[in-house]
């Protein structure tokens, strides 16, 4: 399984006002809020944490089939590192986050080894859905690679997880 989430920083700035009363409390834990408030770049920290939660939630959604809106239940750890952890109900998700002046992009996986198996795809990839979960069909190898699509503002990222075993 793989999840990813991109935040277009320009869009985020105009679409959301995280300084609004009550906003942070609804989606960030006390520790996460402290990180935001202590940060030299609080805007970046807000969307850094948000993208980690979203990318990990996408895996949760694929595994359980449940759709929920509860960002508080996905708590970020080691958020200032390139590789971080998100925990939800005893499950750990590993996150890798790229931050630049244009966007923040997080990829979430269930095993650290999976970071070696990530491929970036384009729009022309052959994507099929099984029980609502998207896969990339790799005809040469007879395998289905889990895939995750994320878009926001000017950006879109499609990432897949390379499988070696035959899955169809």
């Amino acid at each position: 399984m793989i999840g990813n989430d991109i935040v277009d920083l320009e869009s985020a700035l105009t679409e959301s006002n995280w300084k609004r009363k009550g906003y942070l409390n609804k989606i960030f834990t006390k520790n996460e809020q402290l990180l935001i408030l202590k940060s030299n770049y609080p805007d970046i920290m807000v969307w850094n944490l948000w993208s980690k939660k979203e990318a990990s939630y996408k895996i949760y959604n694929q595994i359980t089939g449940n759709r929920i809106y509860n960002p508080l239940q996905f708590e970020c750890f080691d958020s200032e590192q390139y590789i971080g952890i998100v925990k939800n109900n005893g499950v750990s998700y590993y996150t890798r986050t790229e931050i630049n002046s244009l966007y923040i992009h997080t990829i979430s996986v269930l095993n650290l080894d999976d970071f070696e198996k990530i491929r970036f795809e384009d729009r022309n990839s052959e994507i099929i859905k099984i029980n609502g979960i998207p896969f990339l069909k790799n005809r040469d190898k007879n395998v289905l690679n889990p895939i995750s699509i994320s878009n926001h503002g000017r950006f879109e990222k499609i990432v897949s997880l390379l499988q070696t075993q035959s899955t169809f």
Partner: protein, 87 residues
């Protein structure tokens, strides 16, 4: 407040965050904020905060968890309003 009034009030709250106008025009109770109206997930918080203000209710996390469709949101509003009345 009857259901029609609640729906009207809710529609006005949602409108600024909608990215699919056609789906908004054809809205039904099963309409989904994210998959139908293409609302950015970071803006669902705004909707929840606006709902709290407009209806003078407090939405706990357990209730918030379900608020991805019109129906679910209406149910949460009704339940919370009823709780307020009992206080």
């Amino acid at each position: 407040m009857n259901k029609e009034e609640t729906i009207l009030k809710l529609k006005a709250i949602i409108k600024p965050f909608v990215n699919n106008e056609e789906a908004f025009e054809n809205m039904s109770e099963t309409t989904d904020f994210i998959t139908d109206l293409n609302i950015n997930s970071a803006n669902i918080v705004d909707i929840i905060l606006d709902v709290e203000e407009a209806f003078a209710i407090t939405i706990d996390n357990q209730s918030m968890e379900k608020m991805l469709t019109i129906n679910a949101t209406l149910e949460v509003i009704e339940t919370k309003l009823a709780e307020n009345d009992r206080k």
